[in-house]
């Protein structure tokens, strides 16, 4: 299992990159502006569709909307494919 553990290091490196979380890596604009109204229990209000503010930013920082995050998916996918190949070859050699 030792070689396998060593191979897992690149996964860590991959995740360690700055943009591994869509919320933490979001640009400032993704959080919109601060809502300027009270939120009493009886005070129900609706935001316009697509309006990003302090009430709705959680919706627009999900992966499907976080365009700044999509590059990480591609990069992780490629790294995982390389890792899968390495693990397969290493376990095959070890088996022989």
């Amino acid at each position: 299992m030792k070689p396998l553990l060593l191979l897992l290091v690149p996964v860590l490196l991959c995740g360690c990159a700055v943009n591994y979380d869509p919320i933490e890596s979001a640009p400032h604009e993704a959080f919109g502006v601060e809502c300027e109204h009270d939120h009493d229990d009886d005070d129900h209000h609706a935001h316009a569709p697509g309006e990003i503010c302090s009430d709705t930013w959680w919706f627009f920082t999900q992966p499907w909307a976080a365009r700044w995050y999509w590059g990480k998916l591609l990069r992780d996918g490629i790294v995982l494919l390389v890792l899968a190949s390495l693990v397969t070859v290493a376990s095959r050699r070890r088996g022989k």
Binding site: L8, C16, I23, P63, W64, L73, S91
Partner: protein, 251 residues
């Protein structure tokens, strides 16, 4: 690859003969029917709740299907001593694993697509418009299900089925969490928690039920990237499973 295909079809037929996939499918459909019975109380956009909970139910179905189909496959083959003659002559170990995986993956995908059609029927019966992205959303759940299936195979080579269920379920729950929520589980050691979270997959990538329920379009580019990411993680988990399987003494 011919041997893998033949073995996967054998696995498919074997799984369809079992009661487990049928029982889970019926369970998911009953849950969807129960969601449809929730009264609307004239609440505006009540269809959002049906769609949101329906897709959540299908996602839970993917988890239970992965566990129900695969947790017992290798342990049973080993117990009945069918795995030894299989990997001794006709199949290499990778062919055994891939054949079992593909057979289970086909059964799982079929059950999830049937669940999606069930949700669609429920939406139509309640007069709620069916979003165009419902099938792509289900396809993403299918990819997540395949990842879970590969994880179940990985655990099944070194744990018993009763331990496989909680391990996979814990992984399923943790991989849904954002970094912030995950760190909040143990705020006194944020460094450790961030390190652990880095190793876990980001299953929130497979969820597009929120934009669907609120009428937002999902970019095809994101959809393809999410499918690619899910398939790559599945391949990685399968390679780990194969490494463990190759190191196992089957005697």
């Amino acid at each position: 690859m011919k041997a893998v295909l033949i073995f996967s079809i054998m696995t498919l037929r074997m799984l369809f003969r079992r009661r487990t996939p049928w029982g889970i499918l019926v369970g998911v459909l009953i849950a969807l029917a129960a969601i449809a019975q929730v009264p609307g109380f004239s609440v505006e956009n009540q269809g959002r709740f049906v769609l949101d909970f329906g897709l959540f139910g299908i996602e839970l179905g993917a988890l239970v299907l992965a566990l129900g189909l695969a947790a017992n496959l290798f342990p049973r083959d080993r117990e009945q001593r069918t795995v030894m003659p299989l990997v001794a002559v006709p199949l290499a170990r990778w062919q055994y694993l891939l054949g079992r995986f593909l057979g289970a993956a086909m059964v799982q995908a079929t059950a999830l697509v049937v669940s999606c059609i069930g949700l669609m029927v429920i939406l139509l019966l309640r007069g709620i418009p069916v979003p165009g992205d419902l099938f792509p959303a289900t396809l993403l759940i299918v990819v997540e299900g395949w990842f879970l299936l590969a994880t179940v195979f990985f655990f099944s080579f070194f744990t018993s089925p009763p331990l496989n269920w909680p391990l996979t379920t814990i992984l399923f729950v943790l991989s849904q969490m954002s970094v912030r929520d995950f760190v909040a589980l143990a705020p006194e050691s944020p460094g450790l928690m961030r390190g652990i979270r880095m190793l876990l997959p980001h299953a929130d990538v497979f969820h597009i039920k929120d934009p669907l329920a609120h009428g937002f379009d999902v970019s095809p580019q994101f959809f393809l990237l999410a499918v690619f990411y899910g398939l790559c993680y599945t391949a990685f988990m399968l390679s780990l499973a194969l490494a463990v399987f190759r190191s196992r003494d089957l005697k």
